[in-house]
Amino acid sequence: MDRNYIEIVKNSKPVQFGLLIFIFLTLYFLIPQSENNYLWRLPSLLKGIPLAINNVIFNALYEWFPLKVWDPVFEMYEEKAAFREFTKAVSQGLLFLITVVRELLLGGDKIIDVFVNDAWLKENDWLSWPALPWTATTVGAFLLGYQLNGIRLGLLGGIGALYISVFGNYVPSIQTLSFVLITTPICFVLGLSFGIWGYLDKKVETALQPVLNVMQTMPQFAYLVPIIALFGLGDHAGSIATIIIATPPMIRNTILGLKRISPEVVEAGLMSGCTKPQLLFQVLIPAARRDILNGVNTVIMQCLAMVVIASFVGAKGLGLNLKIALNSLKIGKAAEAGLCIVIIAVILDRFTKAWADKQKNYFENLSFIQRNKFLIIFAFSIVIFSIVAFISDGYFDKINYLYVIPIEKGLTIAHFIDAGVDWVWETFFYSLNSFNKFLLTQVLGPMKQAYLGMPVIATFTLAMGAAFIVGNIRTALIVGGMLLFIALSEYWDRALITMYMGSFAVIMASLNGIFLGSIFGRTERGGRILLSFCDFFETFPSFVYLIPVIFLFNITDTSVLIAAIVYATVPATRYTVWGLKSVPLSLHEAGTMSGVSAFQRWTNIEIPIAFPTVMLGVNQTVVFSLQMVILGALIGTEDLGQIIFGALSRTKDGAGVALTLGIFVSLIAICVDVIVRNWAEDRKKALGLA
């Protein structure tokens, strides 16, 4: 054979992949299933890791660096671990802050209690901060929106607040809001500081990258048990979990924004005579403002997405209500709580975006009253509504509706929703059920068995081979190393189930997204509409997706997978639209003049050029799918998520198990990420887009 020909075949990616799949299948069918065969399953050498992590946590909490602490009750010094004192201080600080905001809005005497004598407070029961009447809050939301971006945003805020109040969700909503109001600034400060540090010091950035990767791909559940162990239960624990989840995107956005500043702008700052702090605060941070504020927006969205999960460690508010309603299968109540979360998310989202675009006028020359008119109106409305509410106390006999409308007295459409669900159930029971059954027995079941029947050597060959083809030997070793870590634990089978669910969701969601994006993203207008749909769906906390599917498909893999597919379709769609948009007009014109049909244009021009961008979307899809699959454990699946979830009730080695398995899930996601990213970069280079 011609040597050139051999070279071409050797370098052809399709041929290489074909060969890889052939080897994979050969291994798959040749390796016998036997517990003693290391090619079938590796021995669980790393069994001890969860316990080791637990020991570390235990030692940190009770033994390391003992300090002598004065105990006022027993009037003696006691030995306490420094770390334990530290976590205690953090917990108490956070709890205090959350309670302050909560009581300012809802009333109470817990804060006063901190400052005065306990007994004295009990004798004087008048001593209590009054609640802010919901009427005043509604006016406040309207005014804030109005000032930020005119009447439409004002109405959004006002009507949203009115809905929440009248439907009796005022108290849990304010609880959730107070949680967000404290957590967001902490994430902001932490994210900004680390981001700036990473920007200024290349070494710090290199060190941050893998940590952020793991943090962002780890399922939220995995953090909960360690947090309980370290910080106990309560609103502060929820807040800490949220901080861990929401800070990484803030760090990333800060670094990204700072890096995107043109070097000339930095030079202009220097030549204007900026000192280093001036350069940082007056040039760098403001010039990266858009990305930083996007980060803030993401943080707020993450906070709201976390409210349900935070309720597992004792956070109060809408999340807790939603969880309780879901547990008792009250779809209507759950939907109402979910709607309130969505409303708060949308309002905060639009408000922060409007705030980001707000500008200042130096030549207005306004008086104090003109400048602060909204604040003054708000202050007046608080006074007036409070007086009205206070006076009318006598008019209502038990509950003063002008302060707070309690949940059981609020309007509700829960029974309508329930009736609707029942109707759907009764009408479509057979078709839904048979679809569910078909999917489970004909598709999902066999797929799961196929994954479980995969010898470990075959899995490694496939993953490392793919990594080698798209990257190099280093890529293959990274992927292999990460998988080895999982394979040597006792949870490999569970991980395979997670992979089966994840890959099913990823494939379906990617196909959906590429399909939707290709259909609607071809025209400017269609693309814009589709992207705004994506924006809308992304404001839904992940949990909300689970509500409808449970009621349609019960607690089965189907429910979880459908929720995961819908949830993960959003990024796939978004990136497809972006990818199609990136196809240059001149190429379209060249295509038109070559006489391509619509389908040829799609396969020969649009898809190849958009491919790298679409692959980044698929990458996101993996993270989204895995998050939802693990979340699905909450309603009962049998993958890694279920054990992580189960660890919540295990005291002895719960924290270790949850962290280890969380890292496993994260490793799976990172493996896919490494392969997909290399592939996309490779294509980009080949197309000259890099």
């Binding site: 000339e264 202009a268 005579g273 900026c274 130096y362």
Partner: protein
């Protein structure tokens, strides 16, 4: 009087071993050898002075090191070796505080892509150098308004950079660089990102401003015609080396190297040369009725000279004294060659 800017054997070499390689080379730097050692030569042994009120245009193609040279002198990058004196003080030895002080008092810079702060309006951008200096908001805003008028942007004070055209954005950049009333004005390809028509307009505007302000200027460009139009002196750079540094007339008449010649070949001389460069000594037979200035560009007065058919007096525009004479045959030679 000592020069405002004075460079003495300035080198800028990028790469990790730059310092060691440079000390081993004993001053004769070969770009190719350095490249093999993993270093890139940005500026290679640049020595020149810029006097007060003079405009030096540094001209070179991309990668010639012209912007790097400018950044060494403003110390946006540190020169690898050499002395750079600003009003007699070595800028390379200054600490951060002195540097900030120097930039706040003496320097202004205009950038190729305008480098406006995207979050600030026109007026805020212009007032920015004043505000970082600690001048009150009110005073800096008044000063900035003055600058807005100077560059002809009145009425657009509250626009954001993104709402302005390229030409207008660069006017803001110019106003900002002038806000602190610097002695030294750096311009890094200020008109390269603009359309040809706007570029011409901005060059005229720039000459008008310089006529009023009389700053010491270093102007970087890759456009030879622009350099000829604006410069008192031109430095032509290639691979980090200054190939020739002279007045536009001398460069066109006597290109020092083949490289410089490539630029000058196609330049219509009558459009570049001043009467000064072709005039003879004073002549008693010269016409009494007509005279031209020694700074006139030949093309602009050619018709007048050729129509007269006589020898014409050449005057110095400053004191109207007679400094020489011009023979129409010289003008014909420039116009039609031979």
């Amino acid at each position: 009087m000592s020069p405002t800017i004075s460079c003495n054997s300035v080198y800028k070499i990028f790469g990790t071993n730059a310092n060691r390689l440079l000390s081993e080379s004993n001053g004769s730097v070969d770009a190719k050898k350095f490249q093999e050692a993993g270093c890139i030569v940005g500026v290679n042994n640049a020595s020149f002075d810029v006097n007060k009120g003079e405009m030096l245009v540094v001209m070179g193609l991309s990668g010639s090191g012209k912007s790097t040279l400018l950044r060494c002198i403003s110390r946006l990058t540190d020169a690898t070796a050499g002395k750079i004196l600003i009003d007699g003080d070595d800028i390379c030895l200054m600490n951060n505080k002195q540097l900030v002080e120097l930039r706040r008092e003496k320097m202004g810079m205009v950038f190729q892509n305008f480098a406006l702060l995207p979050h600030k309006t026109v007026i805020e951008n212009i007032a920015f150098p004043l505000q970082v200096k600690g001048i009150s908001t009110e005073n800096s805003m008044y000063k900035a308004l003055e600058m807005v008028e100077l560059v002809g942007l009145k009425g657009r004070e509250n626009y954001f950079p993104r709402e302005l055209s390229g030409g207008q954005q660069q006017r803001v950049g110019i106003a900002r660089s002038l806000a602190v009333e610097p002695d030294i004005w750096f311009l890094d390809e200020p008109f390269s990102a603009l359309d040809p028509l706007i570029r011409k307009e901005m060059q005229d505007e720039f000459l008008r401003l310089q006529g009023v302000l009389n700053k010491t200027i270093m102007f970087v460009t890759h456009d030879f015609d622009e350099a000829l139009r604006l410069a008192d002196r031109i430095a032509i750079m290639k691979d980090g080396i200054i190939e020739q540094l002279d007045t536009p007339g001398n460069i066109v008449l006597n290109p020092a190297t083949d490289y410089v010649k490539k630029f000058t070949e196609d330049v219509p001389r009558e459009k570049v040369l001043k009467i000064e460069s072709i005039m003879d000594a004073q002549d008693p037979n010269a016409s009494d009725t007509l005279e031209v200035s020694k700074d006139d560009i030949i093309e602009t007065v050619a018709e007048k000279i050729l129509n007269s058919k006589e020898i014409i007096k050449v005057t110095d525009p400053k004191d109207k004294s007679i400094v020489g004479s011009i023979n129409p045959s010289k003008v014909i030679k420039v116009l039609f060659g031979g």
